[in-house]
């Protein structure tokens, strides 16, 4: 799998790395890693806005792109966050790439408003088998709340994960990449 994006560190930037095969014994193939920045706009953003300038990384490996990034605005602010060297996410709705998992395809759509994520919708989640259906029932709203709570100032992190959530994050990431480049 080619790498996409790159990492930027800023006050609320998240770097996502699809990397490990550890503890995923059902999965036969490790897909390599994908690195990208995720969104900011976290409601938990600290008041300070002087994050380090985020420059594209040049890590080992091929095919990293310029880091899409967005600097978070404090939750109370309605201003698009373009400070601290960050580029605001373009407003609009962006569909992430379709990501295959062993349970089926995952695809999400992100709506950006005011430079922040305002909604995340799962367009496709696995549901073609009973096992997958159970997972979808459990995971879809959970994934939704997981993605949105990053903006809610309620929760910084979630302990607990699923394979499907990885694909969700990957599809979400590609949507955010598009929004950042848009």
């Amino acid at each position: 799998m080619p790498k996409r994006g790159a990492i930027a560190l800023s006050l609320t930037a998240l770097a996502l790395v699809l990397l490990f095969s550890f503890k995923t014994p059902d999965v036969a193939v490790t897909t390599g890693r994908t690195t990208a920045i995720v969104a900011s706009g976290a409601g938990a953003a600290p008041a300070a806005t002087s994050g380090p300038a985020a420059a594209p990384l040049s890590a080992a490996g091929q095919g990293r792109n310029t880091a899409p990034r967005a600097t978070a605005a404090p939750a109370a602010s309605t201003a698009p966050a373009a400070g601290a060297g960050g580029a605001a996410l373009a407003n609009g709705t962006v569909t992430g790439q379709l990501v295959q998992t062993r349970f089926g395809p995952v695809q999400v759509q992100v709506t950006i408003a005011g430079g922040k994520i305002s909604d995340v919708t799962a367009l496709q989640l696995p549901n073609d088998r009973q096992r997958s259906a159970e997972i979808s029932q459990i995971v879809e709203p959970m994934l939704r709340s997981e993605a949105l709570t990053a903006q809610s100032a309620q929760i910084d992190l979630v302990s607990g994960a699923t394979y499907t959530s990885d694909a969700y994050a990957q599809s979400l990431q590609s949507a955010l990449d598009q929004a950042a480049h848009g």
Partner: protein, 241 residues
């Protein structure tokens, strides 16, 4: 499909090259320990092509930790016999340890306020902003629109093991049976390596698991039982948000 790692650094001025170094370190560890890479040391040991005594110092160190755990957990943690095929699999300890190793590079670069979340195993260092602890939501196993609880932590690791995630891969090494009684166990403590291992072990133990976790100084457990109750140990009490 791998696992997502989120790195969230709140300190200004941390060079981004640190993240490259972290990724390189994680890649190095996976190269050595992955049970899915035929050329990894663990795979070669499992096939009998590499004697453990001739493995790298790092691999010998980790396998030594596995053997210590096998003793101190009275056989509950077993890197050598828990798989259905009986092959060597130290993954139960490697993930948390690997993330902790990578996070050390952030500390060495001067970061004091950051979080790393690898597939739900969390290192929460310092504070996300002055005066506020990291708020770590514990996934609810079946109530889809809510987290089960929020822990407010500073300088702690949080690891969760649960049926919804990988339960079928964790079995009681003494009976071969899947564990019962708990839907998830979350362990909080100073080291992610041990929080991760204790969560895995406590989940395999079932309802006796949380109390077992509490026997380790500095570590606490919050479990969700099969009859959907929350159970936690005293160490967790002041962390409940």
């Amino acid at each position: 499909m791998g696992t997502v790692i989120s790195i969230d650094v709140r300190d200004p001025g941390i060079p981004e090259s640190v993240v490259d170094a972290m990724l390189a370190r994680l890649e190095e560890i996976e190269d050595r320990f992955s049970t899915y890479r035929p050329g990894s040391e663990i795979s070669r040991i499992a096939r009998g092509e590499l004697a453990e005594a001739h493995a790298s110092a790092e691999v010998r160190f980790v396998l030594g930790m596995c053997d210590d755990l096998h003793r101190t957990t009275d056989g509950w943690f077993d890197a050598r016999g828990h798989r259905a095929d009986g092959r060597l699999d130290p993954s139960g300890i490697v993930k948390g340890w690997a993330v902790e190793e990578a996070a050390l590079l952030l500390d060495e670069a001067g970061a004091r306020n950051y979080s790393c979340n690898c597939g739900g195993d969390v290192i929460a260092r310092g504070e996300p902003e002055p005066g506020r602890p990291w708020r770590v939501g514990i996934r609810h196993p079946d109530r889809a629109d809510a987290v089960a609880r929020v822990l407010a932590v500073r300088d702690l690791a949080v690891a969760t093991s649960g049926t919804y995630e990988r339960g079928e891969h964790i079995r009681d090494p003494r009976t071969g049976a899947a564990p019962t009684g708990l839907l998830s166990v979350t362990v909080v403590g100073p080291s992610l390596t041990w929080a991760d291992v204790y969560a895995t072990t406590a989940f395999a133990m079932g309802v006796a698991g949380p109390a077992w976790v509490a026997t380790h100084p500095g570590y606490g457990a919050l479990a969700i039982t099969a009859d959907e109750r929350l159970v936690w140990t005293p160490t967790v009490e002041p962390l409940l948000a």
